[in-house]
């Protein structure tokens, strides 16, 4: 947990000082999105019309890949594979793998049998649950028996659940055929570099073929195996996402290179995540004071890579065993004890019915946005700004400002509303922040936004937000996000054009560095 620290809003910490790394910071994550034009914004940014049909079919209900789907569908991860075959400087193996989850969080380790039962129990209770992932702590392919046993058990009882795994890639080429055999159609590879010199600064060693390799030799081995594995997967038609951790001063500029390398090998999506680093995580980077990027730095890199390929902006570096819609954690309902005592009745039909209802809701949302967008037509302006939205899901502005654990951030321009990321604000006021006002932390997290859309907001926070230059907007309560945002933007432009208000550019915001440790 973030002991004791924080610093001023939008400060860019000096990368070399221990004290300055201890940050607060809101989480801004990236998942690319539609180029903002009126497409059905599917995660990656691609909508139905941009993707080959077989890929759209695979992506459409995947909350990690489809930005739109993640409002409606849920994924869960189970931790069955604690061993790892490499060492990353951003990882402390006492905790979860930083690749897919937040450092500083410990997942419950499960046997394949326990994991399968948990998945079925959750899927029967939460019909949105459509994706099962195996990620950290550890590397699923350093534990192939446990990983594939879990898949086998689930595929048998719940063939409608999509399987995915994330790996550091070292062992990937050896397992591609097994992966294909299990019908695992989503694989995430964490690739932080394609240059071994840079890799040597990120990976102290790898363990391969009974030997520990270090330095540049280790990084060379890793990058070769990662890229080979990626090629082998895409050749077999298996959907591949690449995750990269943005480490300022180490691989930040280099990630543009990585983006090209993975794109040319058929990766379908590239997710750039900020380094989350703080000394109390006990990681090498945490201890050396390596800082993570600010929200603006991250967005700039994501924007730079976006022209190249689909970027993913809704990834929240979720906990490996989080249960529920992305961003909402229900794992406390499903502890091992509770699950083992549960009678699980897997009902495929009611799941289907639920999912059909969701489909029609999604269509309605897209139509609403198209209509609103049409009314923007003809307007031209260079103004581009960010707004934050409090939502519980379903693509609606349906969360109270004071209850919001995170805000979704949209970029508005005459091209429409484009989803660009999340800011986590939960637990800000817990441990470490002492009596600091939690409202201040929220403001810091969305400091780069012009407005915040909420279902409801109290009088006090309202005036504080206004004082900070962020307009609280509650007149669109329970309406569709994008439609409302476009409508608001239209009136904003009108006011600017009539001289009633002046458009000012806002500052940077902070990415939260603390681990989300409170949700059990």
């Amino acid at each position: 947990m973030d002991a004791s620290v924080q610093h001023d809003q939008a400060t860019i910490p000096d990368g070399d000082k221990l004290s300055s790394v201890m940050q607060t910071i809101a989480e801004h994550k990236g998942c690319g999105t539609s180029g903002g034009s009126g497409k059905a914004s599917c995660g990656s940014g691609a909508g139905e019309n941009d993707l080959p049909p077989e890929i759209w079919e695979k992506v459409k209900n995947h909350p990690c890949y489809s930005e739109e789907a993640h409002h409606h569908y849920a994924r869960m991860h189970v931790a069955v594979a604690p061993a790892c075959n490499i060492q990353c400087n951003y990882c402390n193996r006492k905790y979860d793998c930083a690749n897919e989850s937040r450092p500083g969080v410990v997942s419950e380790k499960l046997s394949p049998e326990q994991a399968a039962k948990k998945v079925l129990a959750v899927a029967s209770t939460i019909p949105q649950m459509t994706v099962l992932g195996i990620a950290g702590p550890g590397d699923p392919l350093a534990n192939p028996e446990k990983t594939f046993k879990t898949f086998e058990l689930i595929a048998r009882t719940a063939p409608d659940i999509k399987l995915c795994l994330s790996t550091n890639g070292l062992a990937l080429p050896d397992h591609v055929d097994t992966i294909a055999g299990f019908n695992v159609d989503h694989v995430t590879i964490t690739i932080n570099m394609v240059d071994p010199e840079i890799g040597a600064k990120i990976y102290p060693w790898v363990f391969w073929k009974h030997k520990r390799y270090t330095g540049v030799e280790a990084a060379k081995l890793l990058t070769d195996r990662q890229l080979q594995g990626l090629e082998m997967l895409t050749e077999r038609g298996i959907l591949c996402k690449v995750n990269s951790v943005m480490i300022p001063g180490v691989n930040d500029k280099h990630l543009v290179e990585v983006n090209k390398a993975v794109k040319s090998r058929g990766a379908f999506l590239h997710n750039i995540m900020p380094l989350i680093s703080s000394p109390e995580h006990g990681t090498v980077f945490g201890l050396t004071g390596q800082r993570g990027p600010t929200a603006q730095e991250l967005k700039a890199l994501q924007d730079e890579c976006e022209g190249e390929m689909n970027m993913m902006r809704h990834c929240r570096q979720c906990r490996a065993d989080a249960v529920g819609l992305l961003g909402e954690d229900r794992s406390a309902e499903f502890t091992t004890d509770k699950i083992m005592a549960m009678e699980v009745n897997y009902d495929i039909d009611s799941r289907k019915a639920y999912q059909e209802a969701v489909e029609s809701e999604r269509v309605a949302k897209v139509v609403a946005r198209q209509e609103e967008l049409a009314s923007l037509a003809g307007q031209s302006s260079d103004i581009k700004l960010l707004v934050a939205v409090a939502t519980k899901g379903s693509g609606l502005i349906n969360e109270h400002f004071g209850h919001a654990k995170e805000f979704q951030v949209y970029e508005l321009s005459t091209a429409g509303a484009k989803f660009v990321g999340h800011r986590r604000v939960d637990l800000y006021c817990q441990g470490g922040y002492g009596d600091e006002d939690s409202l201040e932390t929220v403001i810091r997290a969305i400091n780069d936004c012009h407005a915040v859309f909420v279902a409801k907001i109290g009088g006090c926070p309202k005036s504080d937000l206004q004082a900070a230059g962020i307009e609280p907007v509650d007149q669109f309560a329970h309406e569709f996000i994008e439609k409302s945002a476009i409508a608001w933007f239209k009136s904003y432009l009108d006011k600017v054009n009539s001289g009633e208000i002046q458009h000012v550019v806002r500052g940077d915001a902070e990415i939260r560095q603390g681990a989300l440790t409170s949700a059990a």
């Binding site: 061993a83 350093a142 363990f207 030997k211």
Partner: protein
């Protein structure tokens, strides 16, 4: 001689267990332990002790000096 695992440092990640050529490593009460009767320091199998090479925590799988040096059978 054999290797031992410093229990206070072991993360229980289980990485070492399947690497041991002599099946000397097992889980006991939440951490992993090496059976000194089975460990051969990997001599005759690999160039370096596998448990130490794969272990994420430095100096956790270490030589246990309280045992005599392992003698490979002639």
């Amino acid at each position: 001689m054999t290797l031992k695992i410093i229990a206070s440092q072991c993360t229980s990640c289980s990485a070492c267990e399947p690497e041991c050529p002599n099946v000397a490593i097992s889980e006991k009460n939440g951490t992993f332990v090496i059976d000194p009767k089975k460990c051969t320091e990997c001599i005759g199998h690999f160039d370096e002790p596998q448990c130490a090479a794969v272990c994420p925590v430095d100096n956790t799988c270490v030589i246990d000096n309280s045992f005599p040096r392992y003698q490979p059978p002639a």
